[in-house]
């Protein structure tokens, strides 16, 4: 069982942003997508979420093409957290989180909304307006919005942008908890140390292609990351079993 992309090509205008890409996102695991700017990470995520149809190839959940799924069914299955966390209207946080239930709208809604607010530690924010929240609070509310839909797949595009280090770690832990709950989580990250910390699997991208994919222990090597980003990257032992990735210009 997996959310899988099979030989996906995506052309936007004349530009080929994904070039025969095949990848798997496994349930119960966090898959981190890494690569330099313009590598096609966001495109990969958008195709996987069914937001754009691939020019060639297919995206399937357990063999079922997501392009053939009903919109509501796909929305219930795949949650997508876009990069820019803007909310157009100054709604209450509760109203924002309730949007996550648009494709459901059943007797379970209230329970799911409450659970999502609790899982992101945002219950106390419910009655506040999103315009008055801090960046960290807003990020938690927007994550709660996706969690309220109880998706089997959660695709998050750079959810850590504009968060301070403590909130970055906090949000990653919450994403990992979602994966431990059984969902397949794919997340685009730019911070290598945070990626190394949270990843079960990793997909490395460059120029619209996948250059490496697989378990994090095998893919996130100093050499692979050095080549991918054209930097010097290596693992550092922090003692007591802790490890992190350090980077320096080449």
């Amino acid at each position: 069982m997996a959310l899988s992309l099979d030989s996906v090509t995506l052309d936007l205008g004349r530009r080929r942003v994904l070039d025969v890409v095949s990848a798997n996102i496994a349930p119960g695991r966090v898959t981190v997508i890494l690569g330099p700017n313009g590598a096609g990470k966001t495109s990969l995520l958008r195709v996987a979420a069914g937001l754009v149809s691939p020019s060639a190839g297919s995206v399937a959940i357990d063999g079922q093409d997501i392009g053939a799924m009903r919109r509501d069914a796909r929305a219930r299955s795949i949650g997508y957290l876009p990069q820019a966390g803007d909310v157009a209207w100054n709604m209450t946080a509760h109203n924002v989180v309730a949007l996550g239930r648009l494709a459901h709208r059943n007797a379970h809604d209230a329970v799911a909304i409450t659970a999502a607010l609790a899982a992101t530690d945002a219950a106390s924010l419910a009655d506040r307006r999103v315009g008055e929240l801090s960046g960290g609070e807003r990020a938690r509310v927007l994550l709660a919005r996706v969690l309220a839909g109880e998706p089997e797949w959660l695709l998050a595009d750079e959810p850590l942008a504009s968060l301070d280090p403590a909130h970055q770690l906090d949000l990653l832990d919450r994403l990992r908890a979602v994966a431990r709950g059984g969902a397949g989580v794919a997340v685009v990250l730019h911070d290598l140390a945070l990626a190394a910390r949270v990843a079960d699997d990793a997909i490395l991208m460059a120029g619209g292609r996948i250059v490496a994919a697989g378990p994090a222990s095998a893919t996130l090597t100093g050499d692979a990351l050095s080549t991918l980003f054209n930097i010097s990257a290596c693992w550092l032992d922090l003692g007591e079993g802790g490890r992190t990735i350090a980077i320096a210009p080449r």
Partner: protein, 325 residues
């Protein structure tokens, strides 16, 4: 105060405005005149009832389409005039006046031409935005349509064959409910009712759009269908309204703003209230039109701008733009 209570109050306000609209005018009609043998009964039945119905429908259409467009474009500045439907309907009507065919087919001429203008605007908007699924393209296309229609309208007026046609066209452009009768109601009502109903079903997808286009799609929103729904609903409701009353601005812009602090910023929560509020505001303004000193009436479009603009400025000062940040 819960939402049903607030809605009930708004309904009560709208009904009060209907009553005011029936009573107010050069000839004030007391309650006694509404009920029986009083000869002034004719004023109520033949003049004021159709006018009140038309005012309520027009206001509801304008308020609702303003709320829908603001939600759709995620922009508090949107109203029916920015997508060009009003201007194109006006162009059609002015063309009928200038070409001297406004009375053709038993008075259907001007209405038909105006609806053709609105229909043309809808088709062009739909086609222009079919390739780029983006509200930005939508509003750009609408703005271009509006300026083109405005220029063509001015062109037609400047080549009008006689001064009467010029006067009639300009007078009509200012928008009014004056002397509109049961015929006008019968002409416009089917289109306006269908358009209003179409606009009322957009709430769920407008809510999703608050999170952006990608998030809306990921929540199951069909943005292509939504675009056509918005174009069709606005075209029918506002197009038919403009076709019988001329251009009335400000309702679509002001009403959702006034009601947003009361009913919340969620787009779907604003649709029904904006329709009711639009009806109430239009009826109030139309009643004011008739109270102007002198023999004539002030044009509804003029009164609306005169009360709308200062009111809106006051709102901006008081809020300091708080609800949009």
């Amino acid at each position: 105060m819960s939402r049903p209570v607030r809605l009930s109050l708004l309904v009560a306000l709208s009904l009060a405005m209907v009553a005011l609209s029936l009573a107010a005018g050069k000839q004030w009609l007391p309650w006694a005149a509404w009920t029986g043998q009083d000869p002034r009964w004719a004023i109520v039945i033949e003049l004021r009832v159709p006018r009140a119905i038309l005012g309520a429908m027009l206001g509801a259409a304008l308020g609702l389409s303003g709320a829908v467009l603001q939600g759709y474009l995620r922009n508090p500045l949107a109203d029916p005039t920015v997508i060009g439907v009003s201007s194109c309907a006006a162009l059609g009507a002015v063309a009928a006046i200038v070409l001297g065919v406004s009375g053709a087919a038993g008075g259907l001429g001007q209405f038909g031409w105006a609806m053709a203008g609105a229909g043309g605007a809808m088709a062009l908007l739909g086609l222009l935005t079919a390739r780029a699924e983006s509200p930005v393209v939508f509003v750009l296309a609408g703005t271009v349509l509006a300026s083109l229609a405005g220029a063509l309208t001015a062109f037609l007026i400047s080549i009008a064959p006689n001064p009467y046609a010029v006067a009639e066209a300009i007078d009509w452009l200012m928008g009014a409910l004056t002397d509109r009768g049961a015929n006008d109601v019968m002409l416009a009502a089917p289109f306006m009712i269908v358009g209003t109903l179409v606009l009322l079903i957009t709430g769920r997808e407008l809510d999703a759009l608050a999170l952006g286009e990608d998030a809306a799609r990921s929540l199951g929103a069909n943005l292509t269908r939504l675009r056509w729904t918005v174009v069709l609903g606005t075209g029918l409701a506002v197009g038919a309204g403009v076709a019988v009353t001329g251009v009335v601005g400000f309702v679509g812009l002001v009403v959702p703003h006034v009601l947003r602090p009361v009913f919340g910023a969620r787009p779907s929560a604003l649709l029904l209230p904006s329709a009711l509020g639009g009806a109430a505001l239009t009826l109030a303004a139309d009643s004011l039109c008739r109270l102007a000193p002198g023999a004539g009436e002030v044009r509804l479009g003029v009164v609306m701008a005169l009360i709308g603009a200062p009111f809106f400025l006051a709102l901006l000062f008081r809020e300091g733009g708080r609800q949009w940040r």
